[in-house]
């Protein structure tokens, strides 16, 4: 059964009723047990579990230590093009937004890569807007090839591709795929993606599976928190992660927990996700899938990021710039358009040093490309 079929069979109103039915006593029993069923995961995302965060945090911290130790792997995003054919209501790169768009030439990609690599970081995430005309698969493949000169692990966060295209990128040195579904609610999905190729919910939903089939080593998924009810979004993200883990036991599956951030537009999102809610989501993920990689981006501020480290986070972005060529390429300030505003502006060395102060090792390199 495909994940789309699993998703379609879920009764969303039934989930709301189930969330309301859990008691704090049932959360205690779940935490005392080693086994964790999907229904237990649902319980951990319920309002009742919201009153048991300290107890959940204790166990989540122990599990994180056991499987990941006191380490945080660092990576940084590199935006190579902001041309986009979509109209995502929550994104500055929306094709209706009028600004001077930019795409890095390959020599500029090389220069940005060299600059980032000089910090010691060996993991990079390459991002583009969705424009097959301006940033076609061949361009992304060339970028991956160039970045491989500077990095041990190159991941992409671009529009969904076919399995053949993913396989071609793997043979060109691609290591990881990040692809957020944005929302697992198909109705909300359609309403916030009014035009463009991204309207195809299913093609996007199945993309992580196509990537894993194409032998991409690590695959990260997630929902953009704030677009729809976070309890259901987190639950469905967790089910999606488990579905991928079950089918691809040799692929490292991870999740991200991005919250909607201010951007160049007026969309606010339907559902606010508080810091407390975010903590509950991270804890529930860790308790449900103890070996799951959990990424936290610079969308969150430094103080919160540091507090979230012991609770289950295993990867963090650092030194993020969310505009195209924001590091080495000479772009006039007025021409820079951020995809969204970051909340942690510290440099990579600053973040690394702070992680050490907190008693954790910032891991700059955790892969060896051997092909």
């Amino acid at each position: 059964m495909s994940f789309y079929e699993i998703l379609s069979a879920i009764d969303r109103q039934g989930l709301d009723r189930a969330f309301a039915a859990f008691s704090e006593g049932s959360i205690g029993r779940i935490l005392d047990s080693d086994a964790m069923a999907e229904e237990d995961f649902l319980a951990l995302l319920s309002p009742a579990a919201g009153n048991c965060l300290e107890e959940m945090a204790g166990k989540a911290h122990r599990l994180t230590l056991q499987f990941f130790g006191r380490t945080i792997q660092l990576y940084t995003p590199l935006y190579v093009s902001d041309y986009c054919e979509n109209q995502c209501l929550y994104c500055s790169f929306n094709s209706c937004n009028s600004f001077k768009r930019k795409k890095l030439a390959l020599n500029e990609v090389d220069a940005e890569g060299a600059l980032i690599a000089a910090t010691g970081l060996r993991h990079i995430l390459l991002l583009t807007g969705e424009s097959k005309a301006k940033s076609p698969v061949s361009y992304i493949r060339d970028c991956v090839r160039i970045l491989n000169r500077h990095f041990s692990s190159v991941s992409i966060e671009v529009y969904p591709l076919t399995e053949e295209d993913y396989a071609g990128m793997v043979s060109g040195g691609l290591d990881g795929l990040t692809l957020y579904q944005e929302t697992y609610d198909e109705d909300v999905y359609r309403s916030i993606h009014p035009a463009g190729p991204k309207r195809d919910f299913r093609f996007r939903l199945d993309a992580p599976e196509r990537g894993a089939s194409a032998r991409i080593r690590q695959v990260s998924i997630g929902a953009l928190l704030g677009l729809a009810d976070w309890r259901k979004e987190a639950f469905l993200t967790g089910l999606h992660a488990k579905y991928l883990m079950d089918r691809f036991p040799d692929v490292e599956i991870g999740v991200s927990v991005p919250r909607l951030r201010p951007f160049s537009g007026s969309f606010q999102g339907e559902c606010r996700v508080s810091d407390r809610d975010l903590v509950q989501i991270i804890l529930a993920f860790r308790l449900f899938l103890p070996r799951l990689g959990i990424s936290l981006s610079t969308r969150e501020d430094p103080g919160l990021r540091e507090n979230l480290m012991p609770l289950g986070v295993t990867r963090m972005s650092a030194g993020s710039v969310t505009s195209v060529g924001g590091r080495s390429v000479d772009t006039h300030e007025s021409e820079k358009l951020l995809q969204f505003e970051v909340a942690d502006h510290r440099s990579i060395p600053e973040i690394a040093s702070r992680i050490r102060q907190k008693g954790y090792e910032p891991v700059m390199k955790d892969w060896v490309p051997f092909s």
């Binding site: 056991q66 130790g69 380490t71 010691g120 060996r122 040799d250 090792e361 700059m364």
Partner: protein, 258 residues
């Protein structure tokens, strides 16, 4: 009493091997390696960065330690072989711990692929230490291929559950001619001691030390436990079973009745 472990052409006085993953920092890791007295340490090639001006994990390994590169991240034999070759080309020596894991949920080794990698890497002149599930026939084949030791898991990596595979490890100790080194899952010094009492030639510990509140003291405790267990084994502790039998509580009446 002099007691050395002769393995891979080296003569070691410490039978505690220590892994370098999950530590809260490279400096602590170095202190641990020194305090434990270990002479063999495993390092994942994926963490090694000779090009980094700031930090390279290998710079923190004491000179007295032999580095055993592990192939963490390999999902099949071919990938393990490639990682081993890269390690040797990078100048990290030829001791390789083969770790082939195609299961990210339990991190259990793939014995068949591991065996293939043993075969290939021994032929290429590596000193090979395969991490494996304790299976007698596979261990025999690894020994026949020329592995320097077999490294059966005590319980899944990082689980700290102790020697759950005890009966199977005991069979390997009894039957396999090369050293048996229990790797993975040892959560307490007493677990390490138990392995050594059984007759393991050495143990490898990582998580239990790396995530302890005080990694350095925990490393010392493991080192003591390994020595105690080895001493007990070498002094014939299992002979106490014979003594118990001599009293023959069940058949003593035969003697009494003449």
């Amino acid at each position: 009493m002099e007691d050395f472990l002769e393995i891979g052409g080296k003569k070691l006085s410490s039978r505690l091997f220590v892994g370098t993953g999950k530590f809260p920092g490279n400096a602590v890791m170095r202190d641990v390696l020194l305090a434990s007295g270990t002479e063999v340490t495993t390092v994942a090639l994926r963490r090694v960065d000779p090009d980094s001006a700031a930090e390279n994990i290998l710079d923190y390994v004491p000179h007295a330690c032999t580095v055993m590169i592990n192939t963490s991240g390999a999902r099949n034999a071919e990938e393990a072989v490639r990682i081993a070759r890269l390690a040797r080309a990078g100048g990290t020596g030829s001791w390789i711990k083969i770790e082939v894991i195609a299961d990210t949920r339990y991190l259990l080794p793939d014995n068949l692929e591991t065996l293939k990698a043993v075969e290939a890497l021994v032929k290429e002149g590596f000193t090979v230490f395969p991490y494996m599930s304790p299976d007698l026939s596979v261990a025999r084949r690894m020994a026949d291929c020329g592995a320097a030791a077999v490294m059966p898991l005590g319980s899944p990596i990082g689980s700290n559950r102790g020697v759950k595979t005890k009966e199977l490890v005991r069979i390997l100790i009894d039957e396999i001619k090369i050293p048996v080194i229990v790797d993975a899952g040892l959560g307490k010094p007493s677990d390490a001691c138990e392995c050594m009492e059984m007759g393991c030639e050495a143990v490898l510990v990582n998580t239990a030390i790396a995530i302890a509140e005080n990694p350095v003291e925990t490393a010392r405790a493991f080192a003591m436990a390994v020595r105690a267990g080895r001493l007990a084994y070498a002094s014939g502790i299992s002979g106490s079973v014979e003594t118990a039998r001599a009293s023959s509580p069940l058949t003593g009446f035969l003697r009494d009745n003449g």
